[in-house]
């Protein structure tokens, strides 16, 4: 069962188990799951599926540092004396967008659940819903930008607006990448990466982007 295999591999990462025994001469056979790394085509991969999970953790760490650089710049700048900081009224639609994104994480969890239960129809339905909500979020962000522009608030108008656009822009771009990934899983069969693994890593990315947004939003809202 693909998802169980993936779970098992994740458990093994968490339990810190190393590779095969010290004195056994080679761990015979391929990895725990029958597809030995999940690829459909023979010998297409010697990369264990859990490497993709590890890879996603690592990628998220790197992305986190990128955003933390912006966040620390924001915090420093906000509290500087003589910084000409005019607090920005966060557009109200951002509340809605946040709810939409949180909802998308919930639908994503549901989709994952349906996948585990081998309910292909259900999975596809909830996965598509997630994608739709993601697109809705991005649209909402763009509307927020246009609302600000209508008030004459642009990137360079004030340090507070500069940061607003940088945060939302950077996050939005990353989320667009996530949407592309969601679409890819929906419509294309993966070769090297087992479907279960692909679902796993895309889910990790999506939930992270959701959590990151909630954090950025609170930062912008409380810091206004």
């Amino acid at each position: 069962m693909p998802s169980q295999i993936v779970t098992e591999e994740i458990e093994l990462i968490h339990s810190g188990k190393g590779p095969g025994g010290g004195d056994s001469s080679g761990d015979g056979g391929d990895g725990g799951d029958g597809d030995g790394g999940g690829g459909d085509s023979a010998g297409a991969t010697r990369v264990p599926q859990r490497a993709y999970i590890t890879g996603m953790f690592i990628a998220l760490a790197g992305i986190l540092m990128f955003f933390m650089a912006f966040v620390s710049a924001y915090i420093v700048r906000k509290d500087m004396p003589n910084s000409a900081w005019i607090p920005l009224q966060v557009p109200r639609i951002l509340w809605l967008n946040t709810l939409v994104l949180i909802a998308s994480s919930l639908t994503l969890a549901r989709a994952h659940n349906r996948f585990t239960a081998k309910d292909e129809e259900g999975f596809r339905h909830w996965w598509a819903t997630t994608t739709f909500l993601g697109i809705l979020f991005v649209a909402g962000q763009i509307i927020a930008w246009r609302q600000l522009a209508a008030q004459g608030i642009f990137l360079a108008s004030n340090p507070s607006s500069s940061f607003f656009y940088v945060f939302t822009g950077a996050h939005g771009l990353h989320l667009l990448g996530g949407i592309l990934a969601l679409l890819y899983v929906q419509f294309r069969a993966t070769r090297k990466v087992a479907r279960g693994t692909a679902i796993e890593v895309v889910s990790m990315y999506w939930h992270f982007m959701d959590g990151l947004w909630v954090f950025l939003f609170l930062l912008l809202y409380l810091g206004r």
Binding site: S25, G26, D30, M65, A69, S162
Partner: protein
Amino acid sequence: MSSHAHTGGSTVHAPMAEPSGFIQKYIFSVDHKVIGIQYFLLALTAVVIGIVLSLLMRFHLVWPNATLPFVSGGQMSQEQYLALVTMHGTIMVFFVLTTAPQGGFGNYFLPIQIGAPDMAFPRLNMLSFWVTFLAFVCIIAAFVVPGGAPISGWTGYTPLSGLGEITGPGEGWGQTLWIVSISLFCLASLLGALNFIATTIDLRAPGMSLMRMPLTVWGWFVTAILGLLAFGVLLAGGILLLLDRSAGTSFFIPAGLVVNDQLQAHSGGSPLLWQHLFWFFGHPEVYIAILPGMGVASHVLSTFARKPVYGYRAMAYAICAIGFLGFMVWGHHMFVSGMSPYSGFAFSVLTMSIGVPSAIKTFNWLGTLWGGKIQFKTPMLFALGFVSLFVSGGLSGLFLAQPAVDNMLHATYYVVAHFHLVMGVAAIFGIFAATYFWFPKMFGRMMNEPLGKIHFWFTFVGAYCIFMPMHFIGIAGGIRRYADASAVAFLARLQPVHQFMTIAAFITGAAQLFFLFNFFYSLKFGPKASKNPWNATTLEWDTDSPPPIDNFGGHYPSVYRGPYEFSVPGAVDDFIPQWQEPAQVARVK
């Protein structure tokens, strides 16, 4: 359901598909070995350019009024000198010191040394290289755009770098290209770091526990972690700087600046913020430059002294400690910047602390040699040179780490001497040691030993001749990044030393031709190399020279012992490779 985890190195496998056609084999290859060589050749090109730039700088410092044929206007101008300074630093730090040890040798040998068929994500690996290549094209392009190359140093401090052309020549297009190049480099490095870390965690062969990994792998692994956490910050800073320059934001530019009698329309940004973002990256960056070299030094010293690395565990922990502490010391570049003096104190204590794991490593290198049976092949000579140079360069750091003393030495040639000895020589020696050591494995041929030795003698002596005197002129007050010494009276007496250093630089630069010749000549005409010409113990020596496409020709190794089992009592041979089954080890009766 199988109950144990399995990593990449399976003993059962299907043959890996061989790429066909020149393009797939050598240009857009996903083979980590090809990509490693691509990175290496990129770094080789970059270092030649970087050395030429530095020789032009040294020439100008001694003969500022000389007429140069390729310089428009005949004599090198102040801004041309500063452009050399900027580009030399940028090209060397990024495209040589971050590229060759990690992208070059790390890519080639990390998978093999852990018994894997390739990196975890080969296509991502290929992407990383080509984005790096693109970054290199961008930085070189800065030379030829209107205004020329930027003049703000490799550190690109704002507002000098943030206001555009008005602050000086090269600050228009040149600076923009610089930022774009560095940003691309950041992206490529992040992707590369991801690959290295995932590969090390998940693709180790059976029996290859963390504490059996060669120290080279520890070096590449911790370096990758540093890169993962640091490059994102520089990328963020670069984006903000681009916005300041082209979108009218003021992240780094304060209000009320008047340049060339023109009031700048920026409001309340902070130049210190750029410094914090830059150095938060910049300090881990220099450890990125040196850690692989430390791994190589340990590896080569052990191999050619025929002794285990002294204190292997301590060495591994020291690499981790250096990496960890490396993130906490960035403020020591900013003691006189206007940063809070309390922060200065904190950064100082942390910086002095980082000397501790570095010292531990030095003691352990000496311990590795002590009681050994040292063979002086060229790789070993460069590894020994590394130790000497690292001691020299590292100790001057103790002065700079103390803000009181830094008040005197900041921005003098003392700093330039310090970082050149550790980065510009020691780390380079790490690259040379790696090249001479692994050339047989990579290319199936031996490099010429006498030529290698000549290269070593000239470079070792030459490097000391260039950079030891530099400390003294720093103490005497020689200020760095000065195009000429004519305006300041006390600088005049330093000129004879500059002349000495320049002559030494030219001789040492010329001596690199021995290396270049040796390298390219041996590629074609060197004597054929066996599988294990150095009688070494790690997994790369278990396969052909050069290795086949899947690294081990279908037979994946398992690992039975640590990486440095040399001169083990009771064994007939003075080395027991990692891959040799215990039953097969010839024992003394």
